[in-house]
């Protein structure tokens, strides 16, 4: 009767993982039979495998969250910035209208280099996200306008105001705080009695940022006028108004905030 050769540590692990060929397996088992402490240790290693699989295999059966499915299929470079907004869309499941308004946004776009243009894009995205909302278009309603303005001013670190747009047939619905590129931004929402909506996106600008003229861009079906004035950048967005109507309101906003 020959003494069984002592298996290497690697061989013992391979044995625990069921990865040794049958000849060697028999020899290892022979050796383990003579070394009960080692046999117990290797048995524990094997058992950890079973236990780990029992613990984590159920994850394989879980439904895959839809945002992961999209991540695997579509490159969206604006995603990190818009993540919070899109999460809310997903979370609130706001339905067909939002779905329709958003569906074209999932195509890759060149990274915007101009920060003001990037702001316009974010404003358009925020507009597409919240303006279709029926039940929760804003976080704080116009009935608490003073509170809304105080809160947003505090969070943006600069004085913000909700302009009066009655002259254009628009009344304030309310506002909300949104994540922006360099900190919180504010969004005010207005609507006509018929329910046509515009949103005014306001962000604090670093001091010394140059002021800009009105510029217009169109992101899918959302038109945006945007400009930088003193401490704030503004973007007025709407999917419901024509460019001319939007310009008229942008001018109105500009004048009020200027005074």
């Amino acid at each position: 009767m020959s003494e069984a050769r002592q298996p290497s540590d690697g061989e013992l692990h391979a044995y625990a993982d069921g990865r040794v060929d049958p000849d060697r397996k028999a020899a290892i088992e022979l050796w383990l039979a003579e070394h009960p402490d080692e046999a117990e240790r290797i048995e524990a290693y094997r058992r950890f495998g079973d236990e780990l699989r029992a613990l984590y295999d159920p994850v394989l059966e879980e439904p895959v969250p839809s945002h992961l499915m999209r991540s695997a299929g579509v490159a969206r470079r604006w995603w990190p910035a818009a993540k919070a907004a899109v999460w809310l869309v997903v979370g609130l499941a706001i339905g067909a209208l939002a779905g329709w308004q958003m569906h074209d946004w999932r195509t890759p776009v060149p990274v915007a280099i101009d920060p003001a243009a990037a702001m316009a894009r974010r404003a358009a995205l925020a507009h597409a996200t919240y303006s279709p909302e029926v039940r929760h278009p804003v976080e704080v309603g116009a009935d608490q306008e003073q509170h809304l303005v105080t809160w947003l001013s505090k969070r943006l670190g600069t004085k913000v105001r909700a302009p009066r747009l009655d002259e254009a047939g628009m009344s304030l619905v309310g506002g909300r705080l949104l994540p922006g590129e360099n900190g919180p931004v504010a969004q005010f929402m207005y609507q006509t009695p018929a329910g046509r909506r515009i949103t005014l996106y306001v962000r604090a600008e670093a001091r010394g940022n140059r002021e800009t003229a009105f510029r217009y861009s169109r992101e899918n079906n959302v038109g945006v006028f945007y400009w930088i004035d003193r401490d704030c950048g503004y973007a007025l967005a709407s999917a419901d108004l024509t460019k001319e109507e939007l310009l008229r309101i942008a001018t109105l906003v500009y004048k009020q905030l200027e005074s």
Binding site: G49, L52, S71
Partner: protein, 165 residues
């Protein structure tokens, strides 16, 4: 089947590994999401015909290492925390928690090797390629991970979880 479809097919496996690697569900799915986005952005680096699964796990490993590096300060703090006294287990539910906790206490690089070998059932060679480490390092990490796990579990004096095949 194109890469996107195969990536989608592999998501459940990425999630399983991530869950075991980082513990909680939300952080794990964040890791999976970052992995998928990075993989998509770097798809031109993937050589067609090679093992997409191994490549994705490599991407996940790199993403994870970067994320851990970013939170190194807190990790170190946790490593230095004295171990909390733990109740004796009273059943499978607690044992499961014990195993999760024990896994979490392994050094990250050992945990990765153990999980790729046991959950993913990758060959030792494939683990070495995936993590870009020599095979000898794979074996020594596997050995240390299992021994540490055994000592932790022994220390807890738990009854064993019965695995129903």
């Amino acid at each position: 089947m194109n890469e996107a479809e195969r990536m989608v097919e592999l998501i459940p496996r990425l999630r399983r590994y991530a869950r075991a690697l980082v513990g909680d569900r939300a952080t794990a799915d964040d890791l999976v999401q970052d992995t998928l986005e990075r993989a998509w952005a770097k798809l031109h680096l993937y050589r067609r015909g090679t093992d997409l699964r191994a490549w994705l796990f490599t991407v996940m490993h790199n993403v994870h290492v970067n994320r851990v590096r970013a939170t190194r300060a807190t990790e170190t703090l946790e490593e230095e925390m004295p171990e909390l006294a733990q109740r004796a287990s009273q059943g499978d539910a607690l044992l499961v928690r014990d195993l999760e906790r024990a896994i979490a206490r392994l050094p990250a690089e050992q945990r990765a090797v153990l999980l790729l070998v046991t959950l993913e059932e990758m060959s030792y060679d494939a683990v070495a390629r995936t993590l870009d480490i020599p095979i000898g390092t794979v074996m020594s990490r596997l050995s240390r991970a299992r021994e540490k796990l055994r000592v932790i579990m022994l220390g807890q004096g738990t009854a064993r979880l019965k695995v129903v095949k």
